[in-house]
């Protein structure tokens, strides 16, 4: 039978600990502090001017909002462009041909055999 206080126990990880409830309280306090600091900011900005517009890295804002949506494939384009070589190798591995899948299985089985059985 579970005791009510077992719900409050701290999660012990061997050399560390983690208590989500304490983390939750800390998160709420942090947001409160942020809110208070935000409240100290300038209130003399001008509505409806450049000061309140969303910053788009210098790009013009289209009237058709649909055109403003950044499609999935465009996100992290730079990261993937940098790792082009890695992605080419990975794409070449994923041929979609089932006999290649079996070939990879045989390769791993062979490695297992060398490591565990000691067949050189």
């Amino acid at each position: 039978m579970l005791e009510w206080f077992s719900f409050l126990e701290t999660f012990k990880t061997g050399s560390g600990l983690w208590n989500p409830l304490v983390w939750g309280v800390a998160a709420v306090i942090t947001f409160l502090i942020i809110y208070i600091i935000r409240g100290q900011g300038k209130k003399d900005y001008k509505r409806g001017t450049e000061q309140t517009k969303v910053f788009l890295s210098g790009n013009p804002e289209f009237d058709d909002k649909e055109k403003m949506h950044v499609k999935g494939s465009n996100v992290y384009w730079g990261f993937m462009e940098t790792l082009q070589g890695v992605y080419k190798t990975l794409s070449d591995m994923h041929t979609g041909v089932v006999s290649d899948y079996v070939l990879w299985f045989m390769i791993v089985l062979g490695l297992f055999l060398i490591v565990l059985v000691g067949v050189f």
């Binding site: 579970l2 077992s6 719900f7 126990e9 701290t10 999660f11 012990k12 990880t13 061997g14 050399s15 560390g16 983690w18 989500p20 409830l21 983390w23 939750g24 909002k65 649909e66 403003m68 949506h69 950044v70 499609k71 999935g72 494939s73 996100v75 992290y76 990261f79 993937m80 790792l83 890695v86 992605y87 990975l90 794409s91 591995m93 994923h94 979609g96 089932v98 290649d100 899948y101 079996v102 990879w104 299985f105 390769i107 791993v108 089985l109 490695l111 297992f112 055999l113 490591v115 565990l116 059985v117 000691g118």
Partner: protein
């Protein structure tokens, strides 16, 4: 009577339910759906009672067949349910239950649903049999039942060529894997004249044939578990199956992972400290498994980032998550030592933590990745679109689905206070103590995983309203209920990790380590024989 037969009922109820479903289907669609949910609920109840029994009273054995008489040959099969089996059985039964609830809405426009529900219940039978059996040949049989029903379900949308192609690939891979498992079973049977896991674990001498059997078993089960570079069937199968089926497939994949645990810690548990080529077997296995784990995590995350098909993206993330589980297994294996004073084989403190982290991550992965797949299904159901390049602004019309996706993405990326954080914390900390580079790679890939899902969240749910999806509505109540149940469990597991670890994960970890320390799994059966 009922309580004495729980292990048998856990398999028998979904099996009979599966074959009754086409008959009930003649009454009407509603009756069939209610019946499938009833069978799933009843099986869940049986498994929970069985698990409670095991967690309270220890290992349960169940014998199919006659009692042993000296000098006579008795044909019989053992089910042996320890903490690890009970833990996996809970996963294997909860996922199909959620899937049949979800299917009520998700599959309502489809035909052939009598076969669909029959196959889901057969798959449940296979998974439960896999994790409950104490017999190697039985293990192979249940592996086949799971594979065949899974392949048929992957190809359920026969009008879509890619689904049939994925189903074909799945059955080819499964058949080859099962063949190698059968070959390994034959090698063990040929030597020891036994198929019972406990008897085999007690007899194995680590001969050349035993080594061959270990290679075949680990290779086949690792492929079925989707470990890189043998993972390529997984994005195909997960990506093109109906989302409700994908949820159950996660359980099937994890049942194969259970097989890896069972083979390493139970079947070969007593031989782990055997020295091979001047290196202990546990260290050899650990190095190999950790290398595969790192490859699985890195390839899974990098490939997920590249996908534009939402379901394939989640499938690659699922591959990465499997990597975290086997990283923990490898880390735990590397710490196995023989105590110089007592002569007992045991894991060090960090090894036990790694094992607990890996086991905790199994159940968390099933929930987190499962929820993301259900959300992907809900998005497809509402929009008939699955490409992240074509979707956008759905949060306006699908508020609940958006919240469920947010919960799933935070959990799968290991963000506090979700459940994924607690299990990954255990894995990071324990692997750091073994080799800091392992933990650093694991943390970096988790951050990358977060980046992957933020991209998806932004592309699909945020941004301006797209004209083509202006009239999209929230999904059906049954789908929301299924996603809601998993989301609540994720948050609960995240808020009370110590409770979950103490009551669910610890008994499973103890079952594996007890085999190393005192051969409890063997003693439980040899006492019965």
């Amino acid at each position: 009577m009922f309580f004495d037969n729980l292990p048998a009922l856990a398999v028998a109820v979904p099996l009979f339910g599966a074959f009754l479903t086409p008959l009930i289907s003649k009454i009407g669609d509603r009756a069939r759906n209610v019946f499938a949910i009833f069978v799933a609920v009843f099986t869940t109840l049986i498994v929970f009672l069985l698990a409670n029994n095991v967690f309270t009273n220890g290992i349960q054995t169940y014998v199919f067949g006659g009692s042993y008489q000296p000098g006579e040959t008795v044909i019989r099969i053992f089910f042996e349910v320890d903490g690890m089996s009970a833990f996996m059985a809970i996963i294997a039964v909860v996922l199909p239950l959620v899937a049949v609830i979800y299917s009520w809405g998700f599959m309502k426009k489809e035909t052939g649903l009598d076969k669909y529900y029959t196959l889901i219940l057969l798959m449940t039978t296979g998974m439960l049999g896999l994790v409950l059996t104490g017999d190697m040949f039985n293990f192979f049989v249940f592996l086949e039942i799971t594979s065949i029903s899974s392949a048929a379900l992957v190809a359920f949308w026969v009008n879509k060529g890619k689904a049939v192609d994925a189903g074909f690939k799945y059955i080819v891979i499964s058949a080859i894997g099962a063949l190698f498992v059968l070959f390994a079973v034959a090698l063990l049977y040929g030597q020891y004249d036994a198929l019972n896991m406990a008897v085999l674990a007690n007899s194995i001498q680590y001969t050349f044939l035993d080594k061959m059997a270990l290679v075949l078993l680990l290779g086949a089960l690792a492929m079925k578990a989707g470990i890189v570079p043998m993972h390529m069937w997984l994005p195909d199968a997960y990506g093109y199956a109906p989302s409700s089926v994908t949820l159950v497939l996660i359980g099937a994949t994890q049942a194969s992972l259970y097989g890896v645990f069972r083979v390493v810690f139970t079947l070969y548990g007593r031989q782990l400290t055997t020295v091979v080529n001047q290196v202990p077997l546990n260290v050899l296995l650990a190095v190999f498994i950790v290398a595969l784990a790192l490859a699985t995590i890195v390839v899974g995350v990098l490939m997920a980032l590249k996908q534009s098909n939402l379901k394939r993206m989640i499938a690659f993330a699922a591959v990465a998550e499997i990597g975290y589980m086997i990283l923990a297994v490898g880390a735990a294996l590397s710490t196995i030592r023989v105590d110089s004073v007592t002569g007992v084989t045991m894991l060090t403190g960090s090894g036990e933590m790694a094992l607990k982290g890996g086991l905790f991550h199994i159940i968390n992965d099933a929930l987190d990745i499962g929820l993301l797949f259900l959300v992907a299904g809900a998005v497809y159901y509402a929009t008939r679109e699955i490409s992240v390049d074509k979707l956008g602004g759905l949060a306006r019309n699908m508020k609940y689905t958006t919240v469920f996706f947010l919960i799933g993405l935070l959990a799968v990326s290991g963000m506090p206070p979700m459940n994924g954080f607690a299990s990954k914390l255990l894995i990071y900390e324990s692997t750091y103590q073994i080799n800091p580079i392992l933990a650093i790679i694991a943390v970096l890939c988790s951050i990358l995983l977060l980046a992957v899902f933020i991209k998806v969240f932004h592309s699909i749910f945020l941004g301006p309203e797209l004209k083509v999806f202006k009239d999209v509505n929230e999904t059906s109540k049954s789908m929301l209920l299924a996603m809601g149940v998993i989301a609540v469990v994720i948050v609960f597991f995240g808020l009370f990790p110590e409770l979950v670890v103490n009551n669910l994960v610890q008994p499973a970890a103890d079952a594996l380590t007890d085999m190393l320390k005192n051969g409890l799994y063997v003693k439980a059966v040899l006492g019965v024989i």
